[in-house]
């Protein structure tokens, strides 16, 4: 267990810089999720931490050591790869004990350390199989087992669940989270799935195009996104974003480009006359009121109903706990809870509400 620090870390492949100065602090024992769209540099950052890519500039600190120049084997880090990277020519048990056998640890002791790890992951009956003879979920667990046996300073996961089916993904999510609570090892977990990020993280780092957009705990990111990118990225279905300006006379009213007047609870630094973006989450919209939505699609899930429609010219999504009787093409009257409204600057994307 050790804290990890990224200090203005940059990475270039040839002449193209793909990470533009990443600074993140990770506390001892924390579960940190790096999330962001494909190609934003999550894997690259993780591989730099592992020592699989060199660091162009900046510093990476594990514990109290700057590890920039240390080879992977001296960093005491275990990584679970997206494709699991199990050694195909040795059995599950040997895979899990591989790092120990490299160090020349006696066979009996390796077994003593592999057994409890296998127990935790429910792999005890599979120890003599070869990786080929396992299902995807079992391989995933072996990869985790290999990491656990190491008892490293830091665990790294690179999209470990992306090859699993939806149901298994949900159960493995819980399993990984449980494991972390049990071992309390500092963990860095990469995913592009924001639901995974929200459900698992102590702290989320949202990345985009090689920069950090926001760092915070999941609800902080959800409730107070620092900019338009985070607002659009975190949350499913995504936040509704409408462009327009503040009413010059009334700071509690936002006028959309379509001329619709919507309530704002906290305009913050929003200045009249500037191009702004009005953000409201689907569940910030309630049934009944004076705002008309033209329904396009109604998606009942049982517990909730999703309605996709248009607020004048802007597409919006709403989630209601009630069932909706209206049909596509009809109008639905709703109201917006002003307390859940966010205002952003249209040019810089910056959050203006406090």
């Amino acid at each position: 267990m050790a804290p990890v620090k990224f200090q203005d870390v940059r990475k270039s492949f040839g002449s193209t810089e793909v990470l533009h100065g990443i600074t993140v602090d990770i506390d001892e024992g924390q579960f940190v999720v790096l999330v962001g769209p494909s190609g934003c540099g999550k894997s690259t950052l993780l591989r730099m931490l592992a020592g699989l890519e060199n660091i162009t500039s900046g510093e990476i600190v594990i514990g109290d050591r700057v590890v920039n120049a240390l080879p992977p084997k001296e960093r005491d880090i275990a990584m679970v790869f997206q494709n699991y990277a199990l050694y195909p020519h040795i059995t599950v048990g040997e895979n899990m004990g591989f790092s120990l056998s490299l160090k020349g640890v006696a066979k009996s002791e390796i077994e003593d350390r592999v057994r409890p790890a296998a127990e935790i992951l429910g792999l005890s009956h599979l120890l003599d199989r070869y990786p080929r003879q396992l299902s995807g979920g079992q391989r995933q667990r072996v990869a985790m087992g290999r990491a656990i046996v190491r008892d490293p300073q830091v665990f790294l996961f690179d999209e470990p669940l992306s090859n699993l089916d939806a149901k298994l993904r949900v159960s493995m999510r819980t399993e990984i989270k449980n494991l972390h609570q049990r071992l309390a090892t500092t963990t860095v977990y990469v995913t592009h799935d924001q639901i995974e990020a929200m459900t698992m993280a102590d702290k989320i780092v949202v990345m985009h195009d090689g920069i950090v957009e926001q760092v915070g705990d999941p609800l902080e990111l959800y409730d107070r996104p620092a900019n338009l990118f985070v607002a659009g990225f975190i949350g499913s279905p995504a936040m509704n974003l409408l462009s327009g300006r503040m009413d010059p006379d009334d700071r509690s009213i936002f006028v959309t480009t379509g001329g619709l007047r919507l309530p704002v609870g906290d305009p913050g630094r929003a200045a009249p006359g500037r191009d702004l973006v009005y953000g409201v989450r689907p569940e910030g919209i309630h049934l009944g009121g004076d705002v008309p939505i033209r329904i396009e699609v109604v998606e009942p899930t049982g517990s909730e109903t999703y309605v996709v429609g248009h607020l004048v010219e802007s597409p919006v999504t709403c989630v209601f706990r009630d069932r909706i009787r209206q049909k596509p093409g009809e109008e639905l009257m709703v109201s917006i809870d002003p307390a859940t409204v966010h205002v952003f600057d249209a040019d810089s994307g910056e959050r203006l509400s406090s």
């Binding site: 592992a50 020592g51 699989l52 080879p71 992977p72 084997k73 960093r75 880090i77 275990a78 990584m79 790869f81 494709n83 990277a85 050694y87 195909p88 020519h89 040795i90 591989f98 790092s99 490299l102 160090k103 199989r129 070869y130 990786p131 080929r132 003879q133 290999r146 190491r150």
Partner: protein
Amino acid sequence: MARPGLIARFVGSRNGLGFLFMLPAAVFLLCFLTYPLGLGVWLGFTDTTIGRPGIFIGLENYIWLSDDPVFWLSVFNTLLYTTVASVLKFVLGLWLALILNERLPMKNLFRAIILLPWVVPTVLSALAFWWIYDSQFSIISWVLMKWGWIDAPINFLGDPGMARASVIAANVWRGIPFVAISLLAGLQTIPQSLNEAAALDGATSWQRFRRITLPLLTPIIAVVMTFSVLFTFTDFQLIYVLTRGGPVNATHLMATLSFQRAIPGGQLGEGAAIAVAMIPFLLAAILFSFFGLQRRKWQQGGGD
């Protein structure tokens, strides 16, 4: 309902139909592969000479050969040649493949260059080596003399020990590309992430080679080395151009001896017998690789 005729049933059954489709290929194999081989084996049991059809003499050729020191020398030479050349080709080829598998600039150019010795006709490269090994104009002797390491030109092909080393060197030079490029293809099937995982697990580069690369490469090594051994064992052109088996039969291989006895010497029966004597060795090599090539347990999917 009438029973279908025998032929109709035969054609209708799965195996029967399969047999019909295989027939042309089987006939082809029989005519063009087995006939020359069978003729060769038959010749070995006769006293045929060029210009005179022979009669069956049973094992006489073989009995005669078993008392022939030149024949036994050629067996020894062949085994020595095959063993030393194959081991060298394997070690150097693997080493080259490992280097070429690293990220290095102009990788494709290097790969193309490596292939050159394999692409050039053997006779051409053999002629080149003949010139390189020339007792007076050898470039190697010339360079070594310039540097002052030796006083007189080396007699590469004139001295028995030297001649053996020289033909082996030429064979290794020619055979390396095949081994190196095949092993390189094999190396590229090993996912990079396995090496990365091993590095994170604390493996040194030697441990990564020993515990990951080598075991994952063994199936391909087995195939490549089987072919390499077969090619080397049956080598003829290089020796024939460079030494014709000399000096004093020191570099005669079974293949060259067989040819020499059969065609220039006219003793077709005896030459054929020598060639047939190669078959047990080749079969042994093939069997060895057959068992070496059996899919290993870890390569089999499913089941326990």
